[in-house]
Amino acid sequence: MSVKLDSRVPHGPIEKLWDQARFEMKLVNPANKRKHTIIVVGSGLAGGSGAATLAELGYNVQCFCFQDSPRRAHSIAAQGGINAAKNYQNDGDSVFRLFYDTVKGGDFRSREANVYRLAQISVNIIDQCVAQGVPFAREYGGTLANRSFGGAQVSRTFYARGQTGQQLLLGAYQALERQVHAGRVTMYPRTEMLDLVVIDGRARGIVTRDLVTGNIESHVADAVVLGTGGYGNVYYLSTNAKGSNCTAIWRSYKKGAAFANPCFTQIHPTCIPVSGDYQSKLTLMSESLRNDGRIWVPKKKDDKRPPAQIPEDQRDYYLERRYPSFGNLVPRDVASRNAKAVCDEGRGVGETCLGVYLDFADAIDRLGMHVIRERYGNLFDMYQRITDEDPYQVPMRIYPAIHYTMGGLWVDYNLMSTIPGLFVIGEANFSDHGANRLGASALMQGLSDGYFILPYTLGDYIANAKLEKVDAGHREFTRAEACVREMTKHLLSIKGKRTVDSFHRELGRIVWDYCGMSRNAQGLEHAIEEIGTLREEYWRNVNVAGSADDLNQSLEKAGRVADFFELAELMCLDALDRNESCGGHFREEYQTPDGEAQRDDEHFSYVGAWEFQGEAAAPALHKEPLTFEYVHPSQRSYK
């Protein structure tokens, strides 16, 4: 089997491509739609909106999530906002500008046609969400409010306090529940996908474990959609929810779906620093704080004075100094790398010296306490709850943390993976953000895929595919079920001396140290070796408590961590292959004289898509060349 990467981008002027593609798509007769069963795995912004919309069109949808309710999906935690090229502020925004910013922000490693479509659809998303009752922030005149966010020089971000993701997700969740009530969606909460079933080269269903009873079950469909999110938890400590995992996409990769750009991971610059060994996750402080907060560290090394005692002339507002035109609003990758650099120089603050100040004193002087409270009150409260420090009085301490993964399963323009009938949407796919995602773009992509792209492209697949009837008794289903049972049994039988979490923590440490904010060839080779050794120990020495036939959270984790091990290796391999720096992938060997990421467009202007070749063999790398007709690659400069 060999993977062919055909992006299926239509030809023509970029602003017409999506219209043209939609017109060329075949339609499914409305009366026939209910005869087609579609499986949607994941119920976040992408999966939830996709499942609801497919059901509205009349398909028979089965939607799966591992949480107790679809409303818990991790999209709910997104704080800052969602971009849209509405230009309500009359400040020069347009579809083309959002497209341009996103391609440039992604450091020229995304597909132009996809990004343009995303920018076009952004305006429909806002309309849809307002109509659903999403309580976006408003001006006194009753119109929608906007703010500038994450490196954008126009105000195009729509928000609902610091809970934008929650409100958008509840909109999608409510639309989904409406379809559950109508009988067009069957919801399977507390159910985890453990394998993809491919029959005659097409995705035809999944095998799941009921997390309460432990039952392994097969589900047959005409197409499978994965909206299962990113794999940031490979680092153990991340801003992701504890349950977020790569199992659905990883096991699909092992069934033939190519995995693209796994090394493109995003480190978010503003998180609360790590405080101890017991720490289970990192908490994000919305990027919107950088609109009013000023980032600084002491000029002197090892300066242990409390911040208030460090006079103005002994502070280094390093982002404002290095990037005068963007200042504290430089994109995430740049802000994160600079924080690491000043800490590496020994100028970090806080007990661990892995932190920088985010200071609101000037903003409070200029705007007044009440304005800051209105803008960021809930974030300040959260910070105080966690750290026991009052950010109205002392500067926040922040440090970068893993937040988002740009890599994911490779998809074509129609969001279909290299396995026909397997669609991948939202963070789970690789498209749109290139090597670095801009703030407030993840929500936009998830909803764009789910509400407005998938419903068309999936219909085209169904209309064209001639699908044989299969049932759960097919040998591919029984074989997949047997594999899942075998793995479960195996994990429970090892009864070693270390817990799943202890392995996960150690794995995370390796990936963070060698495939995190900066990477080099030697370190990556070392990491691959260490991951291999640890993985070998895992299968010999892990202790998974409990049994297979009831609610067993250690068992759930054990399967997910097994997949993280394998993915971690592929990430390092991909990072090693990409001998350039771009976006979130910073290779120390490739930097400009002033320490910025140095791309190599001549050799690396491609999507690196890896094909699984068997447990014992090395994966094969396939390249989708990227061409830029509208936004010409340039050295990203925020100076």
């Binding site: 409303r71 009530h181 289970s280 709850r385 408590a545």
Partner: protein
């Protein structure tokens, strides 16, 4: 610091369940309640015992997965805080903590501290939405919404569906949860067409699920981690009464 935990252990819905005591001799005041359980569980696993099952996901107070009673208070003693963000510095050395699952007929226990809150989803499915299929929306600024209304709607929409309100209520009522959604949507112009149907259907489902009636005690508001205010229940009652009145059979219909 040192703490003693007394935790409800129940193998499954059929098991009777019991309190089991555990020592936590080395508690870091900066860790969260859930991180303390993580550490305790690591020890249990290595001892060959089953870890304590508890629900959690985002661990930043927004997903609504986590929650249990600590010394009889839903989510513990700190106002406006879910157990995932409740740091141990709020307890004192030597304290005994009693951890129990939400107790309500409509929330059957699945295991240990995990309960089934599916009833909440079914209440939303009964009418907690605005029926607007993808693609049919007018421009976002077509209908201006006074800031005050948008803000109030947002206050109600902040509900995370954790179930603390039900657990705290002596009647095991889900009034705060249901009313928060009815208020959120009812305060917006987009929510008007279905406003009355919504109240009737959601409350019919509420009754079917076996939640108790609201007697305005206010325990729910006191424990709500998102500080949803009791006034939403008043709004729900208004909508429900108005809807029942409008939907009454016409006098000459012969019904």
């Amino acid at each position: 610091m040192r703490l003693t935990l007394h935790v409800w252990r129940q193998k499954n819905a059929a098991d009777k369940g019991r309190m089991v005591s555990y020592q936590a001799p080395d508690v870091n005041p900066d860790m969260s309640m859930l991180e303390l359980l993580d550490v305790l569980n690591e020890g249990l696993i290595l001892n060959g015992e089953e870890p304590i099952a508890f629900e959690h996901d985002c661990r930043e107070g927004i997903c609504g997965s986590c929650g249990f009673m600590i010394n009889g208070i839903a989510h513990g003693p700190l106002p406006a805080t879910t157990v995932c963000q409740l740091t141990m510095r709020h307890f004192s050395d030597g304290e005994h903590l009693y951890l129990e699952p939400w107790r309500a007929k409509a929330f059957p226990v699945i295991k240990d501290l995990v309960v089934d809150r599916g009833a909440f989803d079914r209440i939303i499915a009964a009418g907690g939405y605005i029926g607007v299929p993808a693609g049919s929306a007018p421009d976002g600024n077509a209908i201006p919404i006074p800031k005050e209304h948008a803000d109030r709607a947002m206050d109600a929409a902040a509900c995370i569906g954790c179930g603390a309100c039900v657990a705290a209520c002596p009647n095991a009522a889900a009034a705060l949860f249901t009313a928060a959604k009815i208020s959120h949507l009812g305060l917006l112009p987009q929510g008007q067409p279905e406003r009355h149907e919504r109240a009737l259907h959601m409350i019919a489902r509420y009754n079917l699920e076996g939640f108790g009636g609201c007697t305005n005690i206010g325990e729910c508001e006191a424990v709500c981690p998102k500080e949803i205010r009791l006034e939403v229940i008043g709004r729900m009652n208004c909508d429900y009464i108005a809807a029942s009145w409008r939907r009454r059979p016409a006098s000459n219909s012969g019904e």
